[in-house]
Symmetry: D4
Subunit: 252 residues, 8 copies
C-alpha cells in the first residue's frame, strides 16, 4: 500500500463509501498489505530463472515424485532434488523416465532445457582437497551446471602436496568463481583465497575422524580464513555453493 492508496482510502471514507470501522481495519493492516505477496512470488520465478529445489532428506519417495512432477509441468527449466537415496531415485525414475540420477552427488534431476552454459568464457572451478571430498564437490558442480554455468573440476589437490595445487594454476587463473571443498583442516581455502582475486566459496566437508568432529574443524578453519573475503557454506553444502557461484557468475 503506497501513499496513493492511503489517499484513496481517506477520500473514500470522507465520501462515505466506507465506514470508519472499515477504514480502521484497512489501515491497521497496512504493514502487511503493503507487501504484495503474490507479486514477490512471481518476481522470484521471473528473476531467479529456476524453480524451487527439493531437499530430498526427510521426504518420502511419493512426496519427491509429486513435487518433481508438479515442478516439471509448471516450469520450462531444469528440476532437481538433492540428498536423494538410490531407492527413492529408482522409485521416481520409474514414474518419470526423464529423470536422471547422479550417484556420486546424490542429485536427481530432469533436464528440461538443455543445460548449455549461457557463457562459456565465464567458468566456475570446483576444487576438492581429497578424493573423499568428491561427492560434495560434484554436488556443487552439477548444481551449477544445471543452472546454466560452465563448470570445471579439479580433485585431490590438498595442501599437503602443494605442487599438486600449483600445477592447476592456469585453471585457477581463468576461473570466474572458485569453489573449494575440503574436510579435515580445510586449509585449501586459505591457500586458494590467497592466490586469486576472484570470489572464493569454501565448503567444509565432514571428511575426517576424531577431532574433525564431522566437519567442525574445517568449518572453523574456513570461517577464520586469513585470506580476506572467503564465503563459507554449511558443512557438506555443495548445493548452496553451486547456487551462490551461479548467482555470482551471471552478474555483469
Amino acid at each position: 500500500m503506497d501513499r496513493k492508496s492511503i489517499r484513496e482510502l481517506l477520500e473514500q471514507y470522507k465520501e462515505g463509501k466506507i465506514s470508519i470501522d472499515e477504514g480502521v481495519d484497512a489501515l491497521s493492516q497496512l504493514p502487511y498489505e503493503n507487501l504484495g505477496f503474490a507479486q514477490i512470488d512471481h518476481h522470484r520465478e521471473l528473476r531467479q530463472g529456476f524453480p524451487e529445489v527439493i531437499y530430498g532428506e526427510g521426504k518420502t519417495k511419493e512426496q519427491i515424485l509429486a513435487i518433481m512432477k508438479s515442478l516439471a509441468e509448471e516450469s520450462r527449466h531444469n528440476v532437481m532434488a538433492t540428498h536423494v537415496s538410490v531407492e527413492k531415485a529408482d522409485f521416481v525414475r520409474n514414474e518419470l523416465p526423464d529423470a536422471v540420477y547422479d550417484e556420486v552427488s546424490r542429485i536427481l534431476y530432469i533436464e528440461q532445457k538443455r543445460s548449455e552454459p549461457v557463457d562459456e568464457t565465464r567458468r566456475i572451478l570446483v576444487l576438492s582437497a581429497g578424493t573423499s571430498d568428491i561427492p560434495v564437490a560434484e554436488e556443487a558442480a552439477l548444481t551449477a551446471r544445471l543452472m546454466g554455468n560452465a563448470v570445471d573440476t579439479c580433485f585431490d589437490v590438498g595442501v599437503a602436496g602443494i605442487h599438486r595445487l600449483f600445477a592447476h594454476k592456469e585453471e585457477i587463473v581463468k576461473a570466474n568463481v572458485i569453489i573449494v571443498t575440503a574436510g579435515m583442516e580445510g586449509a585449501l581455502a586459505s591457500v586458494v583465497g590467497g592466490l586469486t582475486d576472484k570470489p572464493v566459496i569454501a565448503v567444509p566437508t565432514s571428511v575426517g575422524y576424531g577431532a574433525s568432529f564431522h566437519g567442525v574443524s574445517a568449518l572453523l578453519a574456513m570461517l577464520n580464513c586469513c585470506a580476506a573475503g572467503v564465503a563459507v557454506m554449511n558443512i557438506d553444502n555443495g548445493f548452496g555453493a553451486g547456487v551462490l557461484a551461479g548467482k555470482i557468475n551471471r552478474m555483469r
Copy 2:
C-alpha cells in the same frame, strides 16, 4: 618451470654446462620453482587493486604506524587498518595527519585516491538487524567504499517488525550485492535471502547475551539458512563481507 625449461635443463646437462648434481638439485626442487613466487605477488598487486589490509588487533601502535607508512608510500591506493583502538589511532594520526579514524567501525584509513565508486549504478546494500549491529555493518560499508564501491546502508530492520524491512523493498531490489549483519538469532539473513536473487552475504554479530554465546547462535542460524546460497562470514567480520561484496560487485 614449464616443459621448455625442463628441456633446456636437460640440454645444458647433456652439453656439460651443468654437472649431474646440479641437474638433480634443480629437478628435485621442481615443484616449488614452478611457482614463480614473485610473479604471483606482482600479479596480486596488479589485479586486486588494493594493498594488504592491516589487522590492528595484537599489533602495537608503532607497528601499525610503520606498516601504514610503508604501504602508503608504495601504493597509490587507499590504505586501511581494522580493529584499531582510539589510542592507537590517535598515535598514528599524530604522525600521519592524512589518516582518518572512523570510531564506529574502528577503521583507520588513508584515502590516497578519492574513493569515488567506479560505477554508481552497481550498489552494495548493507543491512543491520538492530542498532547494536551498526559497528559491524559500518565496518563492511566503509571497507567496500574504500575499495571503490557505491554503498547504501539501512539499519535496524530486524524481522520482529518485518514491515520495517519491507519498507526498504526498493533498496533491496536495486542492490547488486546485499550484506546482512545480525546478532541474536540472525533470522534477517533468511528473510532477505528469500526476497532477492542477488548474492547475499551474512555476517553474524556478537550482539546478544546468554545462549547467543557471543554470536554462535547467529552464526549457526546463518550457516543453516533455508534460503539457498547465502555466503557466511566469521562472527563480527564486517571487513571480510566488505571485501567479498567488492569482489562480486566488480564482476562483469
Copy 3:
C-alpha cells in the same frame, strides 16, 4: 502441618497424651509432613484433567501395554504414549483394540472420551517451516487435540518464501495460541513472534545437517528470538508444546 496442628500437638504433649520423644519426632519431621503427599497427587488428577502420559522410548512393549491398561481403567480421560515405534504399537494394539496409532507423530492413544474441543472459538494453530518438520508438528497438534483443544495446522510456511506465511495471515490472527516448529535456522519463530500478540511456542526440530547439529542451531536461534516472550521447548518436543498450548488455551 499448619499452626492449628502444631497447637494441638503442643496441647497433647502438655496433657500427657504423647511423650516428649513422640513430640520431638513429630516436630522434627514437620517440613515433610507439611506436604500432604497424597493430596497433592489427588489434586493434580482433579485439576489437570488428564492422566500421566507415557514416554515410550526406553520402555519395553510389555511395560507400555501394562501402563496403558492401568491408566485406561483408572481414568475416564484419553490415554496416550509418545515416541512409540510401529512394532511396539502393533503389540499393544493386539491387546488393546481401542488403541489408535498415528504413524507420523508416533503417538499411540486411546480416545476414551470423544475429544471434542471444549471451545471451538479458541483455536491452537500449529505451523511448520518445512515438510520435514511435520512429524514434530503433528505430535504437538495431536497432543493438544487429545487434551480437548481445537487445533489447526499449516505446514511448509518457512521464511525463505515469506509470502507463503503471509498467505495464512487470517489463521494467525484468529489463533489463540501459536506453535511454531522449525529446524535449520528456526527463523519462523521470530517472524511469527513479531506478527502476533498471542503466546507463541517455538519447537526447534532436528531437521537439517552439518552445522545444524541435530537441532542446536534452531534451538539457539529460538532462545535468542528478537520477538519478545517466545516460549522455547526442547528439540523435537512437540508433545511438550502441545501440553503448554493446552494449558494456556484453557485459561479464562
Copy 4:
C-alpha cells in the same frame, strides 16, 4: 499509535481539522519512525498491545534518550528500557525527570499510565531459587507489572531445602502463571512444574561457577524438564518471561 488514535485521526480529517496531506503523512509513518540509527516500531503497540521495549546494551545513552523520548510522545502506555547501566540511566533521567530506574533489575521506565493491574485476581508469581537470582526475577516481575499485571514474588526457595518451597504452596496454588528463575542446576522448574497445572515459565540464570558455564547447566536442565510443557527462555531473560507471562495472563 493504537486503534483509538487511528479512529481519531480519521475523524479529524473528516471534520476538516487536518488536511488530506497531513492525514496521509501521519498514516504513512504509522509503522515506524526512522531515527537513522533506529527505526522505532510505533506500530508494535497496535500489534502487541505494548510499545517497543528498548534493549539498552550496545546503545549509547544518547540513543536510549532519543528512543525513549519518541516512544513516550507517541504512546500513552508505559515505556521501558532493559539492560541499562546506572550511568546511562542517570543521563536519561536528567533529561526525562519522569523516568524511574530500578537498580536491581536494571530497568529504566516511564510510567505514563498508572500501572494498576487490570485484574487483581489473576496473579503472576515469580519465584527465585536463590538470592543471586533476584535481579533476573525482578526484571521479570517489573516487566509484567508495567504491562498491567498483578505480580507476587517469592525468593530463595530452591530445592535443596524443599520445605521452603512447600511453605509457599498457597501462593503457588492461587497463581495464574508462574515464572521460575534459577541458576546452577535449575531443578526448581521441574519441581514447580510438577506441582501445578498452570503455565510455568522457566528462566535459567547465569548464577553459578565452573561447570554451570554461565547458565548453560540450568538452561539444559530446564529444556529437559521432566514436568511436561514448561516454557523456557534464554539465559537471564527475565524480560522475556515477564512479557510471555503477561500475554498468557490477559487471555480470557
Copy 5:
C-alpha cells in the same frame, strides 16, 4: 593375592614346602599376570579389597573369558565384567558354567563367595528417576551387592511427581549411602541431597533426547547441585557408583 596368601607363602617357604626359587617366582609375579593383551592386576585385591573388574566393551569374547578364568582362579572373591553383550556372555558361560549374566545391567559375574552382606543394618539405597534409568541403577545395585553390601532399590521416583519420592521417606532416612540415577534434567539428585545428611552419589544417565545431549544435561545439573557435597560419576557409570558406595559403606 591377599595378605593371607602372602603369609601362607612365607610359611610354606620357611617350612621347606617350596624352594626359594618358587617363592621368588610367585612373589615377583604378585602384582600382575601378563596375558599379552592384558596385564591382570591380581594385586588390586590387596590394595582395593576386590579383584580387578573387567570392562567388557572393546574386548573380544575370548579375551573376557581368559581374564575371568585367570581372576577366578587367583581370587576367592566374586569376579565380574561390565558392559557385556548377550553374545559375549553366552560364549563365556559355555566355558564357565558358574558365570551368571544379568541382562538388565549387562553384568556377567561369578559369585565365588556367597555375597551375603557383611552388615545388614548398613544399607545402600539406589533410586532411579524414571523407568528408563533402571539399567544404570541395576548396574550400581548389583555391583554393590557383589562387593558384599546390603542394597535396596526404589525406581521411578522423579521430581515431576514429588509425592512419589516422599512416599519413600523411610528408606531414605534409614539408608547409609544413597545412589541417585537420573537422566534428562537430573533434578532428583538435588532434592534427595537436600533431604538427607548421608553421602549421596549422583549418576547422570543418557536417558532423554534433543538438548539432553546423551546425558550432558543431567551431568551438568548434578555437578551444579545446590545441595552441598553430592558426588558425581560419569554418565551411565552405575558401576562406579556401586564401587564408591561400597567403599563408603564399609567405613566404620
Copy 6:
C-alpha cells in the same frame, strides 16, 4: 535448631515458662527465617548436622552480614560463608568481630564451637597437584575442619614428578578419605584412586590455559577416571568436597 532445642522448648512450654502461642510461633518458624531476600534454612542443621553455608558470590556485603548474624544467633555450630571477597569480609568483620577471614580459601567463618575434630584417628587428606590449586584445596580443608574433622594437607604432588607423590605414601595409607584437587589434565585423581581402597573425592580446578577451558579438561579426565569409584565435584568446588569428605568421615 537441633533436636535438643526442640526438646528444651517442649519442656519450657510444659513447665509454663512460655505460653502456647510463643511455642507455636517458635515452632512454626522452625524450618526457616524469612529475611525477604533470603529464606534461611535453620532446619538444615537438624537434617544435615551443620547450619546452612552462605555462598558469598552475588550477595551484597549487607546480605552476608545479615545472614551470618542470624545463623550465628540461631545455631551453636560454626558458621561459614564461601567465595567472599576481601572487601565484603572486612565489612562483615567490622560488625562481627568474631568472624575470621581466610584469604587463600576466601572463606569467612565464625568458630562458635571449638572445631576440635571428633576423632583424631580418622583423618581427611587433601592433596593438590600444583601450587596454583592450593586455594581450592584449602577451601576443602577448612570446610572439613570447621565441620569437626581432622585434616592433613599435602600440596604440589602432581604426576609429572610422580616420586613427589610416592614420598607421601604414608599419609595416603593412613587417610580415611582423600580429596584430590588438580587442574590441567587432572591425572592425579587416577593415580591416587589406584593406590588406595579409601573413598577418593576429585575436584577439578580451573588452573591451566588454552585447551584446559577453565577446568573442563580436568573435569572430563576425572569423570573418566580409570580407577573405579572416584567421586567428582564441580570445577573449583573445594567446599563441596569438604562437605562430602566430612559426611563420609563421620560414618561408623
Copy 7:
C-alpha cells in the same frame, strides 16, 4: 621417484638411451600421477622419504587398488593404506597377492623392501593404557615398522595400577621415542612424560563412554599434560604417531 631415479634418468638421457622428449615427459610428470579421482604424489617419497600413504576411509575398493598398484610400481619402498575394512582388503588382495592385511590395526600393506630396521639400537616403544586401545597402538607400531624402525609394544599398563607401568621401566629407559595411546582420562601420557627425557607422543583414543565424548576427554588431558613437551596427535591417529616417531627416530 627418488634422487637415485632422477640421476639414472639423467644418465640414460646423456647416454642416448632415452630421447629428450621421453626425458621431458618423465620429469614433468615427476610430482604426481593423475588418476582422475586422485592425484598421486610420487614426489612425496623424495620430500618425505616414504611414498604417499592411502587413507582408506571414503575411498572405494577400486580406488584403493588403483592407487596401491600405481604406488607399488613407482616406488621401491613399502606401500600402505590405513582405515581399510576387511571387505576392501580382500578385494585388493585378490588382485595384489603381495598385499598383507593386519586386522587389528586395519592396515593393508605391501612390503616391497624387507622392513628391517636401519638401526636395532634405536627403538620406538608403543604403550597402551588398556586392552581396548590396542588397535590404535598397533596402527602406530606397524606404521613405524614399515618405515624401517625397530618397535616394541607394551599393552595394558594404565595408571590405575601404576606398578604395571613401573614393571616396564627398563623398556621405557632404553626407548628412543615413546608413543602413548590412551582413552578415557589419558593420564598415562602425563606419568610417562614425567619419567623420561625422550620425546613422548600421545595419542588419545576414542575408548570410553559418556563424558569421554569419543576421545575428547583424553585429547584435552593430553594437550594439558603437566609433563612438558609431550606431542599430541588427533584422536585415534596411531598412523600419525608412527610417522612422527619414525621421523624423530631417524635423526642423528
Copy 8:
C-alpha cells in the same frame, strides 16, 4: 625391588632376621618400593640437564622468587619461569639482579651457563603465521635457546601470501626441527608439514576473533593436519614446543 631383593628378603625371613609380619609388610608394598623414588628424581636431574621450569601464572611474586632462588642455587643450569607479568618480573629482578625478563615472551630467566648451542649445525626453525603470533613463537624460541639449541625465527609467513613462505625455503630445508605457530585457521602447519621430512611441531595460538574461539579453530585444524605426523601442542604453549624441539634436536 628386583628378584635379588626378594630373594634376600626371603632368606632374611627364613634366618629369622625379620618377623613374618615384617615380611608381609615389605612384600605387600612391593609395587611401590620397586620404584626407587629418589633415584628416579636424581635420574631426571642427571639426564634432562635442566631443572624444573616455573609456571608463573597463579603463583605470587614471592613464590616465584623463592623457587628461582632455590633452583639457581641447586643447579648450574639456566633457570626460567614462564607466564610472568611485568610486575612480578620487576619484583624478582630487584632481588635477583642476574634475572633477565623478555617482555615479548613473558619469560623471566637466569642464564647461569652461557647458552651457547651444543651444535650450531642442528638448528631449530620457529615460524609464525602472523605478527600477532610472535609472543608465542618467541616463547618457543627462547625456551629452546636456554636449553642449548641453535634457533632461527621467521615471522609473518602465513599462507594467504604463500610466496612469503616459499621465500624462506632454504631455512626450512636446512632446519632440523620446525615449530609452526599460527592462530585463526592454522593452515601454515599443513603447508609446512607437506614441504619437509623433518619433525614439525604445531602450536595453535589464541590469535583471532569470533569463531576462532580463542585458538580452538587453529587447534582443531592442526590436529586434523593432512600432512602426516605433525605434533600438536596446547593453545599458546610455546614453551612446550620449545622443550619438545630441544628433546628431538639433541637426539643422535
